[in-house]
C-alpha cells in the first residue's frame, strides 16, 4: 500500500523536522559576563503597535541609551556594566507574548525582563514572570485589581493605578465645579467597549452620582468606530455642560476633530487615551486648550523638562503626558534597586517593594507594590498638559472651567 509508505515517510520527515527545528530554536545563546542582559517582548506590529510605539518602546530605548552613555548600570561594588538588549516582537498576540517571555527567561536567560504594553498583555505574562522569579514593573496596565494581583504575584508592581482612581478624581473635579455653579449637573458620557473603557465607566457611574451629577447620556461604542457624528450630535443636544469620553486612540482624535466641526463646545471636555500624545497637539492646534484627560505632568518640573528634551532628542518624538514619564520612572526604580542590591532578582524585587527612589517624578515609594503618588487628571493649559488632580499635591495646577471656545 503506497499510501502507508507515504504516511511513514511524511511522519518521519515531520519528526525529523520538528526535532531539528526545536533544537535549532532552543540553542543556548551565550551570555557574556560583563554585560547586564535586559529583555523585552513588545508589540512592534499589529493593533497594539501604535500604543507601544508611543509610550513603551521609546522609553526603553532612551533608558538604555542614558544608562550606557553613563558607562553602564552601576552595581553595589561600584563597578559598571553595560546593558545588552534582547528584544522580540509579540505581534500583538497574547500567545506570542507568553512564548516570548518563556524564551527570554529560559533560552536567553536575561537578567531582567521589561513588560509589554497594555493591561491584557501584562496580565498574560504575569504568571510566567512570577514562575521564573522576575520582577514585573507593569506600567501600561490600568487595573483596579492591582491589590489582588500583588497578593497573587508577589514580585509584580503596578505603576499606573486603577480605573476608579481616575474616574473618582474626575467626579471630584466635576462635583465641585457644579457646586460652585460653573457647570450644570448634567454629564454626557461615551465609553469604548473594551476593558479600559468599561472599567472606567463602571466606576464613574456611582462616583458621578455621589458627586451630585446626573448622567443624561451614557453610551458605549465598539472599538474600531471611526465616525462619531451621531454620538456627538446626541451628546450636544443632551443639555449636558460636561462631555466625558473614556476613549482610545484613534477614536479620541476623531471625537476631538468632529466636536470642533460640529461646534460642540461643552464647558468641560474630557477625552481618554491619546490626549497626552504628541500628535494630539498637531491635530488640534491651539484648540487643545482646556481639554482634559487622564494623567498630566507638573509643567514646572525641571526633571520632566530635561526628560522630555532627552526623549525628543533620542527618539525624534516628544513623550506622551500620561504614561511615558511613569514608564521612565519605573526603569529608574529598577536601575537604582540594582545599584543598591545587585543583580539578584529576589533582592531587587524586595528593594523595589520597600525602598525609596529618586526619579523624574520626584521621590517615589511604592505602597503595597503600587505607585499611588500619581496625577489622576490633567488639562491642556498654556501648551502643556498640566496635572490638576489631586489638587492638594505640590505642582498641581488649578483646573480651568469652562474651557475656552474652539478657535474657529
Amino acid at each position: 500500500m503506497t499510501d502507508r509508505r507515504r504516511v511513514l515517510r511524511t511522519t518521519a520527515f515531520a519528526v525529523a523536522a520538528l526535532t531539528a527545528a526545536t533544537s535549532l530554536f532552543t540553542g543556548q545563546s551565550i551570555a557574556s559576563a560583563d554585560t547586564v542582559r535586559i529583555g523585552y517582548a513588545v508589540s512592534k506590529t499589529g493593533p497594539n503597535s501604535a500604543g507601544t510605539g508611543i509610550t513603551t518602546i521609546p522609553n526603553y530605548v532612551l533608558w538604555v541609551k542614558d544608562v550606557n552613555e553613563a558607562g553602564g548600570l552601576k552595581l553595589p561594588d561600584g563597578s559598571r556594566r553595560m546593558i545588552e538588549v534582547i528584544e522580540y516582537d509579540d505581534r500583538s498576540s497574547s500567545e506570542e507574548a507568553v512564548r516570548a517571555v518563556e524564551r527570554l527567561a529560559v533560552q536567553d536567560k536575561v537578567d531582567f525582563i521589561l513588560p509589554p504594553w497594555g493591561t491584557g498583555f501584562n496580565l498574560a505574562i504575569a504568571p510566567l514572570m512570577d514562575k521564573f522569579g522576575y520582577p514585573q514593573l507593569a506600567v501600561t496596565a490600568v487595573t483596579d485589581m492591582a491589590p489582588k494581583f500583588v497578593q497573587r504575584w508577589k514580585k509584580s508592581f503596578w505603576f499606573l493605578g486603577g480605573g476608579s482612581d481616575y474616574s473618582k478624581a474626575l467626579a471630584e473635579i466635576l462635583g465641585s465645579a457644579h457646586k460652585s455653579g460653573q457647570i450644570n449637573n448634567k454629564v454626557a458620557v461615551v465609553s469604548v467597549a473594551d476593558g479600559f473603557g468599561i472599567d472606567l465607566i463602571k466606576s464613574a457611574r456611582p462616583a458621578f452620582k455621589e458627586a451630585g451629577l446626573e448622567l443624561v447620556f451614557d453610551k458605549t461604542y465598539p472599538l474600531g468606530t471611526k465616525d462619531f457624528n451621531s454620538l456627538l450630535t446626541e451628546a450636544k443636544t443632551s443639555g449636558a455642560d460636561t462631555f466625558v469620553a473614556f476613549s482610545y486612540p484613534p477614536g479620541t482624535f476623531g471625537m476631538a476633530k468632529q466636536s470642533k466641526v460640529l461646534g460642540f463646545n461643552p464647558k468641560v471636555m474630557y477625552l481618554g487615551v491619546g490626549v497626552g500624545f504628541p500628535v494630539f497637539t498637531k491635530i488640534m492646534g491651539p484648540d487643545v486648550a482646556g481639554v482634559m484627560s487622564l494623567g498630566g505632568v507638573d509643567p514646572n518640573s525641571q526633571d520632566f523638562k530635561d526628560y522630555a528634551a532627552r526623549h525628543t532628542a533620542a527618539t525624534t518624538n516628544s513623550p506622551d503626558f500620561w504614561a511615558s514619564s511613569v514608564t521612565y520612572a519605573s526603569l529608574q526604580t529598577l536601575q537604582q534597586a540594582i545599584e543598591r542590591v545587585g543583580l539578584d532578582r529576589d533582592a531587587v524585587a524586595k528593594e523595589i517593594s520597600t525602598g525609596e527612589f529618586d526619579t523624574i517624578l520626584g521621590k517615589i515609594k511604592l505602597e503595597d507594590n503600587q505607585l499611588r503618588k500619581l496625577w489622576w487628571t490633567g488639562q491642556w493649559q498654556d501648551g502643556s498638559f498640566a496635572a490638576v488632580s489631586p489638587n492638594s499635591r505640590d505642582g498641581a495646577s488649578s483646573v480651568v472651567i469652562p474651557k475656552p471656545e474652539w478657535s474657529q
Binding site: K44, A50, I54, V190, N229, S230, V261, G263, F277, Q408
Partner: protein, 290 residues
C-alpha cells in the same frame, strides 16, 4: 433627528463606497483578490501627509500627484507580481488562490516598510475640517468631499462601463475572459490597466480619507475588509452596487447609533451584510455565476 441620521449616514457611507471602488475594479475585472488593497489606501494617506507637511502642498493638489503615481506603481506591481501568476493560471494554476497568497505577502511587506519609515505612531493633519450645513445638519467639509467624490466616481464609472466601448471591453474581460481574445481584446493588457486604475482609485480614497481620519501604518487591513464587504455586497465589479452598498452600510450605522444603541453599530453592519448575502448570494447587483 431623522434628517440628521440620514445625512450623517449618507456621508459616512460615501467614505465606505469611496474606499471600495478600486477593489471592485481590481477584483471584478482583473480577478485579482488584492488583500493588500488597504495598504495602497494607507500608502496614499502617508504620501499625502508627507507632501502636506514637508512641501506644504494642498491635499487636493496632492490628489493629482498621488493618483497618477499610484497608477504607475500598481501597473508595475501587476507586471512583477501578478502577470506571472496569470500566466501560470493558464497552465492549471489558480489565480484566485495565488493572488490571495501573494497579496497577503505584499500586505506585510508594505506594512513593514511603512513601520520602518514612519514608525507605529498615529499620523494626522487637518484639511477642510470646517463645518458645512447640509439640510440643517452640520458636517465636516472634508467628509462631504469624500461623499461627493464617491458619488461622482461611482455613477461615472458605472455609466462608463455600461455605455462606452471601453466599458464593453472591460465587461468582456470581466465576464468572459476566455472568449474575449476571440474579438481581438488583449485580456492581459486590459486586466493590467484595470488593476492599475483600481490602484489609482484606492490612492484617491486614501488621499481624501487622510483629510479627516487619523491613520497608522497598520490600519490598512481595516480598509481592505470594509472594502471587501462593500464589494461583495454590491456585486463584484459593479460600481453602482458598491456605491449603494457603501451608503447602506453608512445609513445602518447612523440609524442604529441614533435609534438603537451605538454599541451595536458594527454588529449591525455585519448583520446587514450577512443577511443581504443570504438573501442575494451574488450581492445586490451581482450576476449569478451559475
Amino acid at each position: 433627528m431623522l434628517t440628521t441620521s440620514l445625512v450623517i449616514g449618507l456621508v459616512l457611507g460615501g467614505t465606505y463606497a469611496l474606499a471600495a471602488l478600486g477593489l471592485t475594479m481590481q477584483y471584478g475585472v482583473s480577478r485579482i483578490m488584492n488583500l493588500a488593497y488597504g495598504e495602497f489606501v494607507i500608502v496614499a494617506a502617508f504620501a499625502t501627509f508627507v507632501l502636506v507637511s514637508t512641501l506644504g502642498l494642498d491635499p487636493l493638489l496632492s490628489l493629482l500627484l498621488v493618483g497618477p503615481a499610484a497608477f504607475v506603481i500598481s501597473y508595475a506591481v501587476y507586471s512583477v507580481l501578478m502577470a506571472p501568476l496569470v500566466k501560470r493560471s493558464r497552465k492549471g494554476g489558480n489565480l484566485e488562490i495565488d493572488s490571495i497568497l501573494v497579496t497577503f505577502g505584499l500586505l506585510f511587506l508594505i506594512q513593514g516598510i511603512l513601520l520602518v519609515i514612519f514608525g507605529a505612531d498615529f499620523q494626522s493633519y487637518s484639511y477642510l475640517n470646517v463645518a458645512v450645513d447640509l439640510f440643517g445638519v452640520t458636517i465636516a467639509a472634508n467628509q462631504v468631499l469624500a461623499f461627493g467624490l464617491a458619488t461622482v466616481l461611482g455613477i461615472g464609472l458605472f455609466l462608463l462601463i455600461r455605455f462606452t466601448r471601453w466599458g464593453l471591453i472591460l465587461r468582456a474581460v470581466a465576464h468572459r475572459p476566455d472568449n474575449a481574445p476571440l474579438v481581438a481584446i488583449n485580456v492581459d493588457r486590459v486586466a493590467q490597466l484595470a488593476f492599475a486604475f483600481g490602484g489609482m482609485l484606492a490612492a484617491q480614497a486614501g488621499v481624501v480619507i487622510s483629510m479627516f481620519q487619523t491613520f497608522t501604518a497598520t490600519a490598512g487591513v481595516v480598509f481592505t475588509m470594509k472594502a471587501l464587504i462593500v464589494v461583495i455586497m454590491g456585486g463584484v465589479g459593479n460600481f453602482l452596487g458598491a456605491l449603494i452598498a457603501g451608503l447602506i452600510l453608512g445609513l445602518v450605522e447612523a440609524f442604529v447609533s441614533a435609534y438603537l444603541d451605538p454599541g451595536l453599530t458594527l454588529a449591525s453592519t455585519y448583520l446587514i451584510f450577512l443577511v443581504l448575502l443570504l438573501w442575494r448570494p451574488q450581492g445586490l447587483f451581482g450576476k449569478s455565476v451559475s
